[in-house]
Symmetry: C2
Subunit: 454 residues, 2 copies
Amino acid sequence: MAAKPSIPKGTRDFSPIEMSKRNYIFNTIRNAFHLFGFQQIETPAMENLSTLMGKYGEEGDKLLFKIQNSGDYFSNLTDEELLSRNAAKLASKFCEKGLRYDLTVPFARYVVMHRDELTFPFKRYQIQPVWRADRPQKGRYREFYQCDADVIGNNSLMNEVELIQLIDHVFGKLNIRVAIKLNNRKILAGIAEAIGEPDKIIDITVAIDKLDKIGLDGVVNELKQKGIKDEAIDKLLPILQSQGDNNEKLATIATVLQGNAIGEKGVEETDFILKTVAATGIKSTVELDLTLARGLNYYTGAILEVKALDVAIGSISGGGRYDNLTGVFGLDGMSGVGISFGADRIYDVMNQLELYPQESIITTQIMFVNFGEKETLHSLQLISQIRTEGISAELYPSSDKMKKQMGYANSHNIPYVAIIGESEMNEGTITVKNMNSGEQKSLNINELIALLKG
Amino acid sequence: MAAKPSIPKGTRDFSPIEMSKRNYIFNTIRNAFHLFGFQQIETPAMENLSTLMGKYGEEGDKLLFKIQNSGDYFSNLTDEELLSRNAAKLASKFCEKGLRYDLTVPFARYVVMHRDELTFPFKRYQIQPVWRADRPQKGRYREFYQCDADVIGNNSLMNEVELIQLIDHVFGKLNIRVAIKLNNRKILAGIAEAIGEPDKIIDITVAIDKLDKIGLDGVVNELKQKGIKDEAIDKLLPILQSQGDNNEKLATIATVLQGNAIGEKGVEETDFILKTVAATGIKSTVELDLTLARGLNYYTGAILEVKALDVAIGSISGGGRYDNLTGVFGLDGMSGVGISFGADRIYDVMNQLELYPQESIITTQIMFVNFGEKETLHSLQLISQIRTEGISAELYPSSDKMKKQMGYANSHNIPYVAIIGESEMNEGTITVKNMNSGEQKSLNINELIALLKG
């Protein structure tokens, strides 16, 4: 019984200081979601496996945490099935539920189940943990939070514009300098079609993605290796060599894509988004980035990704437009667009750059020293008065040695300590010690409240 | 694929309005915890089964949701083990992790694992969901939230006093009238000893509990059936017949318990708590209630329970003193006292009494009608200005028919709608419609911001 306890690998405990920091991030994101008119929902941690399976590819299915059925789940199994020892197959007999793997599939399931109660467009946000049986490593956990905002049931590009403004707002508030990368699935599809290789969209995007690392010759070689014809590569060259700002790049792409319907649509969408966002005067840079292929099988229009400028880390937010999120649950024609903030990576960035404002670390404002019963009764009434003003205050619970009580206040970063002995009780005063400066003052309760409020 | 999706029984989705109400409760409790100097921690949803098993009794072990191991967990099993079809035994081979069943055992595990980082007394709070494979029924769910505050590492009764103040504060803020019931495990143990039946403490408490329902004769009969001697019952009679306020009841108990060490200690503790709480001037009634036996095997001192006065429902908060929470993980001598707020029952009470203040329902403050591209660009800049003031605002994303746009604002309870057509653009004004009164006004942006702030 007395073995030293531990927690499952890839999971974490959060201490009070860590919670203050995490809450600062979550509250900033939540406030931004509200400011932009998103409404919160929550879904259960457990979903039916029938809801989750097959939605994240074969690899994703393996990473689902499955929950064992209650009761006697062996009775329906034949000897042969049991002795087959086929874990994957038998899991489906033992388990009907799993932990959610992301917030997107539960959201799609929510929209389908509640479609009659919803007015579209439906702007929802959701901040909840998800679980993945991934191999844990630095910065990758088996339990982590996602913060998602989506607009579903409306295909106006104004939604994309608002999401980019939202990203800019969140990282502005957090004081993280970012670049917002923008791409469009329709441009990628157009390029593949226009150069005569419509089925090679992924190979082409993967190769373009390496331009910075392996240079133009390297990309051309890789494309050849993938079986893309010289003629197609020649058509692609202007795009690979395109220089300049977003407008110049987009002009080059438009030339290549001239006459290709889906490609032209992608250029038009991107042009609209870039121009409208520029008119709103956001602070972050928005960069057209053709190498962005995030969730290519899933997105159908704009693709977004956010990189921190001052820390080398993967993307800290991302999203895009999807045209048929709910089709898999039998509700077609629901176009949506959304973004997800990676709270754990944002937490790492904030820690590295020490971006937390001092007031984000929540502590008790004042601790009353405990000298015994009589002084305590007196203190309790003053503490009640202070709390009524919305100021956090606590009484040290027992009349321990002064050194221990002060040590408690110190280790909890409590900025003020109130000392009330017999003389203070008689005089109706409070001796207040500023724990940072060491300075002591004698105040009455109103002066103390004024001090704590200031 | 297109089967209508569902969620596991006993779990719930929460809509935006439900989330507003739940957040109102959680925020009220969280603010109170901070005001009283409690610090937040979080622990993982999954704990090792070795941490959870055996902590909640045999029945509790069965109600744990167990998580299937990843990988090939069959290879270590013999044919014989498999064909035994012993679900309970094999579960321990298939599963190493489970979902947390409450917040108390994870807290004990946390204290033991992090003892070197903590300064005691440690006042922690935790607001997180827990999972139980209970049979779902009205008001009982398989996923529900607990809101726990505990002080560990200090045995001063001032902690009990502060928790009672905290309870009074929370329900005062929520506007729920409550009675706080108080008992003490030491009094119950003392009674059992004093009447010569030290092993029958549970039978005695269960019988006393029925006094209101079955009357004095009924209780006496039940005690006899349980094998309690007539002589013992005679000694118990003064307590069963005791009348009056807390002080009078406590005096009767003190008489019966005279000379019994543990009983006298219980009386002394209870007397101190009642007197000190009275001196703090809390609003809720505190009632000495000997029938309170909540978690008798677990608590060692004060026992607390809170009943709503205006709704018939079980206890909405409860807790008590435990002397050795962490002993099971190898750390002895840690006395603690805590309370837990039952968020789901509080939610039911609040709904029934309609206690939510209007401002607790979070909505967007103003929606801008969308007339097309040109008007939209103009609106976007006004919306940014409004959001800078911390006021939530949204643009209807597409230029749908006016009726549809107004319907959206209505169904989302958005109080104001801004209408900007060509004439408003030319004049630099905004036509603002109050959605409750139907009244329309022409304002400039500063007047609009003043209106929304007021």
